[in-house]
């Protein structure tokens, strides 16, 4: 019922509030001085630990040592809190040193690093990722999982600077989004499946495993099917996508070169 779990002392943010007071005594979540950032951070933490379905205004309040009603001072309601959770997790990308300074090694390198950064976030917050994937975006031109104006701007600028046309850059954003969404959602849901059913007493969830002998091919390939090749598949598909975009770029460069010499 009550969860007094001692949790990771240095949170995702990894900042030390400029090394000041810090009572350091009680096992609270950083108490004294509730604000929106801390509420959202606690929500992410709570979802990571207990799952999305367990997040409740009342339980989140308890987790913060406060009554649920106190949260409404910092968050207009539950829906907005979930939006804030999505934003908070995506914002972790800003602090990822492996993703930054895209200038150096060309657009391919940037797309590679960005993709890996998003993947790290998805794997770090598997319970949050479905939210990132399915919450209605704030604007029609923002697509999951890169639902941030700043990253979209950076993405487009990187491709435009590399010589992509406006149309090609926008098309690339969509292809890239759909690639990340599909792969990461699949990967995250695949990992989740082993922990998700709570007990499976014995023959309880016989749904899939029972009718298995009626499907000889699945039965025969089961070892192959349950193998987790997500990481390798991610790399390969990302490589393929980048190559495809590279061909688009070459074609449009060739076209404009031809145009300027004719």
């Amino acid at each position: 019922m009550d969860d007094e779990r001692e949790h990771d002392p240095d949170s995702p943010e990894g900042r030390g509030a400029s090394a000041a007071v810090l009572p350091a005594g009680p096992p609270d979540t950083g108490r004294r001085g509730l604000d929106r950032r801390r509420v959202l951070g606690a929500a992410v933490e709570y979802i990571d630990q207990h799952g999305l379905g367990a997040l409740t205004m009342r339980r989140l309040g308890a987790h913060l040592g406060v009554e649920a009603m106190a949260l409404y001072r910092y968050v207009p309601g539950r829906e907005n809190l979930l939006d804030g959770v999505v934003e908070t997790v995506i914002d972790e990308l800003y602090g990822d040193p492996d993703v930054h300074m895209q200038a150096q090694h060309g657009w391919q390198d940037f797309l590679q690093r960005l993709a890996h950064g998003v993947r790290r976030i998805a794997l770090a917050h598997p319970e949050v990722f479905p939210l990132i994937a399915t919450r209605p975006p704030a604007a029609p031109w923002l697509r999951p999982p890169l639902r941030s104006l700043r990253w979209l701007e950076t993405f487009l600028d990187a491709l435009l600077a590399a010589g992509f046309s406006d149309e090609a850059a926008v098309a690339a954003y969509r292809a890239y989004s759909s690639f990340l969404l599909g792969h990461l959602l699949l990967e995250v849901s695949h990992r989740g499946v082993k922990i998700s059913p709570e007990d499976e007493p014995e023959g309880g969830a016989a749904d899939a495993t029972a009718d298995l002998e009626q499907h000889p091919t699945i039965d025969r390939l089961e070892p192959l099917l349950s193998r987790d090749e997500s990481a390798a598949e991610f790399e390969e598909s990302l490589e393929t996508l980048i190559e495809r975009l590279g061909r688009v770029l070459e074609e449009s460069s060739a076209r404009s070169a031809r145009r300027s010499t004719s």
Copy 2:
């Protein structure tokens, strides 16, 4: 509050209870003879009309002209009901004449028709698709959105018959799943965004639109970005995927041919 909406008289099921008594007075959903299939059908209908968030045991009961508690005779609980909803919607594929008889025109044609069938379902039930995408699968080798033993078996058999190796067929299933998931979730969420915010009084949801001038590239490309090219992108990515799989097949054929002549 109360929804007395006169709704499509012939439901998905399209059966007329063998033309018997039918009081014809009340706007019920085909009453008399509640069973699991009807409950799940009504749930799908309700989600399609009112959105996933509006589905409640009590409201679904009311929609069926019954108290909520009566549903527990046909459905063990809400979670199981949602699983049933996913299954019901996926099962619509079995009735799609454009998808069947994959034998005739080769595996490429089969993958094409199957993909379009799944896309039709996603667009027909945009409120259900996120559920299809994110519910934990019943088995680790079942991946969304093709979460059905029967379709997985059919899929693998089709590729194996065409000469794919076991490994290649399984890899193809994963690539295909991730492609469908990414594209369709993006497309569905893109369509949903225009109806999802209820009113937007005036400057209410200024989140994205306000900071737009701080992002000149997005601002400049906004018309391009909000254009909906989903259909064309779907076709093109599907084509690319099938070509890629075709190359895999050729390579493995060539390898085994070389092996048998050496």
